[in-house]
């Protein structure tokens, strides 16, 4: 008799359980756009991979923790924005009004964030931005958009100047691409250097489709500065890495803005990359980071041994960690999520992150350096995974 009672209880509990999980099985729809075609298509995968990895890791746990009341899996609704900001705006309108997604995550690139901003403001959808960095972002009124980036050009300029001073650098050569982010960096770097008494012995800017830097580099070499700062994008970064070796630039501090953090770049230059400093706020094993090792191992497993992009992929991942933790605290109500993002301190692979208005107020502008084929955070010292080293002679 008691046996029957027990069995019945278990059966009823089991049915409740199944009914409950059938309800909880409704996935959370999260929408975004990504450049799959067009001129930024080559940057898209860095971001998409982060989103997909996050989805895998979260769904493996059973889904997003919804305010402590059970888990629901993530389902993405994504479209190709063709590298066109206006198209991104259209897509987010569609996601919100037509596809009726529960939440959105960010598109790629600063212009796209700007284009999407009015849309999320209007519909009151909180959006944690990632791949966007420009001081113009501060003009966005605090509302439903935040920027995870730690690379605001004015902060980068201060950090870079401090780093150069710590190495006793007295003279620099600056080369930079005419494209917006690079130019904006220089706008702040020059006065910062002047204030610190570091002299600019050579300065040159070049268009994005440049094919040869030899002329510039010969002049740089002639001035023999302590540091060479190249604000470049992958294409021109490659140009620099090849032609700096030809011309024989041997400054002990060399900075290549974008490129060395991306996997393919390191495959192209192997040990020639040792000693090069680049933008980045993360390395595996960094103190204070949450979920670092898991992210790194899972990424390599999912993407066939390839290294993640230490710049974009990491930042995107941090941005979704923030979203995940906000949802875990307050559930899916968008107003509550918004308040949570404004007030909480989040534990991400960038370390602890708390937003100051629209900006990431916690993560300092940082630099990484390739040492013996590995990427290490070298500045600021509080985050460093390895000390800043001199750049030795080129490998070949």
């Amino acid at each position: 008799m008691i046996k029957h009672l027990i069995i019945k209880t278990f059966v009823i509990l089991g049915m409740f359980g199944m009914a409950y999980s059938a309800q909880a099985a409704d996935p959370v729809k999260i929408g975004f756009s990504i450049p799959k075609t067009g001129m930024f298509a080559s940057a898209g995968p860095s971001q998409l991979n982060a989103y997909l990895l996050w989805q895998d890791l979260v769904n493996a746990k059973g889904g997003l923790d919804i305010g402590g009341k059970g888990r629901r899996k993530i389902e993405f609704v994504q479209y190709d924005d063709k590298s066109n900001p206006a198209q991104a705006a259209k897509i987010y309108e569609k996601l919100i009004t037509n596809d009726k997604v529960d939440l959105v995550v960010a598109p790629w690139g600063t212009p796209h964030h700007f284009a999407v901003a009015p849309v999320v403001e209007r519909h009151k959808f909180p959006l944690v931005g990632n791949t966007a960095a420009s001081v113009a972002l501060r003009k966005v009124k605090p509302g439903y958009l935040w920027f995870t980036s730690s690379m605001m050009p004015d902060n980068v300029a201060k950090a870079m100047t401090a780093m150069l001073k710590s190495r006793g650098v007295k003279s620099v050569a600056i080369l930079y691409n005419l494209l917006p982010f690079a130019s904006e960096n220089i706008q702040f770097l020059k006065p910062a250097l002047a204030k610190a008494g570091i002299k600019i012995h050579f300065e040159a800017k070049y268009p994005p489709d440049i094919k040869d830097m030899t002329g510039m580099l010969i002049k740089v070499k002639a001035k023999n500065p302590d540091a060479v700062l190249v604000h470049s994008y992958p294409g021109d970064s490659i140009l620099y890495m090849n032609q700096a070796r030809e011309v024989g630039i041997n400054a002990k501090t060399q900075y290549v803005m974008v490129g060395p953090a991306i996997g393919f770049f390191r495959g192209m230059f192997k040990s020639n990359l040792d000693g090069i400093i680049t933008m980045g706020s993360w390395a595996p094993g960094m103190k204070g980071a949450t979920g670092s090792q898991k992210f790194y191992t899972a990424y390599k497993k999912k993407f066939k041994g390839h290294e993640p992009d230490y710049l974009d992929t990491v930042e995107v991942y941090a941005s979704v960690q923030i979203l995940e933790q906000a949802i875990a605290k307050v559930g899916l109500n968008r107003e509550k999520i918004r308040n949570a993002i404004n007030t909480m301190t989040f534990k991400t692979i960038y370390g602890d992150v708390k937003f100051n208005g629209v900006q990431n107020g916690s993560t300092p502008s940082s630099f990484t350096q390739i040492q013996k084929g590995k990427i290490e955070v070298v500045w600021p010292k509080s985050r460093a995974t390895a000390p800043l080293a001199d750049k030795g002679a080129w490998a070949n």
Partner: protein
């Protein structure tokens, strides 16, 4: 400015120039001879680059070998395009009367198709590989092995093609076509065959150039556009259909890019290139070496 006379700078100018010359050859064969506005020209470079990349990463075959494979593949693409698309364009009277616009649209369509197929098959992210990256010293000049290779191979192949087309029967036939298509048919030249061969040849050389370039640049499905633009600038400079002119114009552009910016400042590079392009078109459209006859 004594840095201007450095041999290193001269070498850089030569390499840039030779690369430009090689890239523009293919376009000259297509646009110069048949007035087909090949805006998919750069995409052929891209295909060649991917062929070299795959050959190296999967089969460990270096680009000096795979470049012939790239030429073959692109050449076949040329044959395919001719049979399926351009043969009709060039033989239909109504379509022929708006040759440039129609060819532009057709090549634009092809470009869209090729780029998106590449995105589908290879994914859009950047790829690259290390090959001949060690520095080689020749006297006062230091070059990566890859750039030295491009210089030598590029010069040899460009010169070979130009001479072949100058002195061979096929080359003469092509020249005849440039001068006067109808008359060529009358004197017994197989217009159809020559046109097809031009397309195959033009595409093939460009694919080969792409394989060489893959050593020095990130490989992405959208990498081709700057090469399309440069190639147009060069063949205009040299005179449409004038292969020797295109070769010299390529060298000239390389010199301009490397030395010109040494004088004006590198940021003016693109303005210089396009500015000269626009000026030449307005004041001397037959190019620096063209002789003033622009046949249709």
């Amino acid at each position: 400015m004594d840095s201007l006379v450095s041999p290193q700078l001269l070498a850089a100018a030569m390499i840039t120039g030779v690369l430009y010359a090689l890239i523009s050859l293919g376009l000259n064969l297509v646009y110069g001879t048949m007035r087909l506005l090949n805006v998919a020209h750069g995409d052929l470079v891209m295909i060649g680059a991917y062929v070299a990349f795959i050959a190296f990463s999967l089969l460990n075959i270096g680009p000096l070998v795979s470049m012939f494979g790239a030429a073959l593949i692109c050449g076949s693409l040329g044959w395919l395009s001719y049979k399926c698309v351009f043969q009709r364009l060039l033989s239909n009277g109504q379509l022929l009367s708006r040759l440039e616009e129609n060819s532009l649209l057709l090549f634009f369509a092809l470009s869209v198709i090729i780029q998106n197929l590449a995105i589908l098959f290879f994914s859009a992210d950047r790829k690259g590989y290390e090959y001949l990256s060690a520095i080689v010293e020749i006297g006062d000049v230091r070059l990566t092995g890859a750039r030295l290779t491009v210089l030598i191979v590029g010069a040899v192949i460009s010169a070979a093609v130009v001479f072949f087309l100058r002195f061979s029967l096929f080359g003469l036939a092509m020249n005849a076509l440039i001068q006067n298509r109808d008359a060529s048919a009358i004197v017994g030249i197989n217009v159809d065959r020559v046109q097809m061969s031009s397309l195959i040849f033009g595409f093939g050389i460009t694919g080969l150039a792409g394989a060489l370039i893959s050593m020095m640049e990130p490989i992405t499905p959208v990498m081709g556009f700057p090469y399309t633009m440069s190639a147009f600038v060069i063949i205009i400079l040299g005179g449409l259909g004038n292969l020797w002119g295109g070769f010299l114009a390529g060298l000239l552009l390389g010199v301009l890019e490397v030395y010109g910016v040494a004088l004006t400042g590198p940021e003016w590079r693109s303005v210089l290139v396009y500015g000269i392009f626009v000026l030449i078109l307005i004041f001397r459209p037959q190019g620096l070496l063209g002789s003033g006859k622009t046949a249709r």
